[in-house]
Symmetry: C2
Subunit: 354 residues, 2 copies
């Protein structure tokens, strides 16, 4: 368990700032604030909510400027949305792409409340040649030698999807600073990088956006010469609450012989979860878990449970894998790519039965 | 900046779960929930607040059992308390002690509200031979091959100190699960390990407690044969908000030439901060910063600020160091010990002026 991973000081610095969700937090259907995963590309900006405003413009007939009270006075929606970092699982790849060194748990589910994006977008009357919408945050830094504000685009159709929310609340309270106060974009089903925080501008454009976070970052490709494809929706994935008690240093689990109830969550950005399987022998044989989907929360993870009879003393490896309605299931081994994105290989939890 | 640090997978697993406070969060006098540093030895327990109760007993005349409502009905105190992990700075030591690999920022300041410990303790009438009080949490795991609940003791005098609080609120809301819901001990001025979370029992004892977290962990010593001394109060320390904008991967700062206002915080568990100095040449020469102590918040960090005239293009290293009323100041180089505790060496922020 103490394999040298050769993590560099750069990666450790990122791991100290950003944080995953401790796996036992899978017990909560809505992740408590502070347990939800967090990735901040640059610095968390300190935003004065009185001075802050949102500019909606670009290739539109009726650009607008909104203050926080304007947004709060609109009809609101509240959605439970599971959000996963596109780089989740990166540090399990070999060779390891150098960036935030996530293991398995860069995920969380928030209850996001705000104004539907489609209403605001339609009110500006986008031009007939509009193809994309660019979302600009207030966080600024240098990445890949490019100085930038954090910016991502969505195809106009995706931005008009009824699920997109301009969120000003998380779990019933104003957004915490680290999750985008006073306003962030929430795009159900997409990986986390799409959900632009500290939103300051929404710009309709007539040419595809070529900013760093779309054209260079967040692309699935094997080498730098390849154009690759953009990272979009979350792939099918499941995680379990590691049973038993942990060893402090190794996080290895100690489980007493007898029946063990294993609980977890599963999600996919493309379609509902239809199946979760558990293996107690490292992925050789599989048994169906019981899946508890909540149709009222289409964009939130589904709970699942499995009764394991831990009969034999010794070491074993627990695994889980989910399948969604499109038939996508999780691979046993990761699929490598240059940026370390979309690694949805099955989770492996080493356990000692005593 | 990309030195291999050889961080092991065990350490990375801990770094992914636990998290420091991003340094820009020093801007807030009270750290927002989710930005305060967090160290969880075992797992965050899921506690039913209705079933939960606190047992106060041991060598006392009148043991008692309290429910959350009992505690909430007592006169309450609210204190702003700066809390730092005893292992903060561990990963900057050479050789690096293997545990949670903190860099510089395992700290935060919370507004803790709860019942004063002294009143509850005195009501139980401790025996005349009582020497210590043991605080037991609900989190359970294996550490140093010892299976245990997390437990720490305080000398009776320290436990009776007017500052100790049995806290059920953080920043105006019920404790989040990861900070000890429904109740934690808060001991102003002491390192974080003293502030036992998920508190379930308080036990007065007539012999010094010899549990793992006091007798083995959290001792300053050079080798395992040495008894060493216990870790207690936070040493003098200061940190700054890194100025300018960061590079995503290296976290190196880019600063424009001209006047730069540098802000930070400083604290000591033993005495008020009386001086903060800043160096812009890596610690060769020092200038006084302006310190803004708030006498109403004795146990919270003091703010400080410094106007830097960044006149010359190129690389430099910014440092800060604080001094408290006892005269303790921060060393330029860390003082090594086996567990990697109490590293209060001056912070170093590499900057590129352009």
């Amino acid at each position: 368990m103490s394999t040298e991973s050769g993590i560099s000081l750069d990666e450790l610095r990122l791991a100290a700032r950003n944080h995953a969700m401790p796996l036992e937090a899978l017990r909560w259907p809505i992740t408590p604030v502070g347990l939800h995963y967090l990735l901040v590309h640059y610095d968390v900006p300190l935003v004065d909510p009185i001075a802050w405003q949102l500019e909606i413009g670009g290739a539109v007939d009726k650009p607008s400027t909104l203050r926080l009270d304007d947004l709060r006075s609109l009809p609101a929606v509240e959605l439970a949305v599971t959000m996963e970092c596109a780089g989740n699982g990166r540090a399990l790849l070999e060779p390891r792409p150098i960036s935030q060194p996530w293991l398995s748990e860069a995920v969380g589910t928030g209850l996001w409340r705000g104004a539907p994006l489609v209403a605001l977008l339609d009110a500006t009357v986008p031009s007939e040649r509009a193809v994309e919408v660019v979302f600009t945050g207030l966080d600024r830094g240098v990445e890949g030698e490019v100085e930038q504000r954090y910016e991502r685009s969505l195809p106009l159709d995706a931005a008009r999807d009824a699920g997109c929310v301009l969120a000003y609340e998380l779990n019933g309270a104003p957004l915490p600073p680290q999750h985008g106060f006073p306003l962030r974009l929430v795009v159900p089903g997409w990986y986390g990088m799409t959900n632009v925080k500290w939103l300051s501008a929404i710009t309709v454009v007539e040419e595809p956006f070529s900013g760093y976070q779309v054209a260079t970052g967040y692309r699935v490709r094997q080498n730098e010469d390849e154009e690759g494809r953009p990272v979009t929706h979350m792939r099918t994935r499941s995680l379990m609450v590691p049973p038993g008690i942990p060893d402090f240093l190794t996080r290895e689990r100690i489980v007493d012989r007898g029946p063990v109830d294993i609980h977890g969550r599963a999600w996919s950005g493309r379609a509902p979860i239809v199946r979760v399987e558990v293996s107690v022998d490292g992925g050789t044989t599989w048994s169906d878990a019981r899946v508890e989907r909540d149709p009222d929360h289409r964009w939130a993870w589904a709970g699942w449970s499995y009764r394991w009879e831990a009969a034999v003393e010794g070491r074993c490896t627990l695994c889980c894998r989910a399948t969604d309605e499109t038939g996508e299931t999780q691979p046993l081994e990761p699929e490598w790519n240059l940026g370390g994105y979309e690694n949805n290989a099955v989770q492996r939890i080493p356990v000692i039965v005593r």
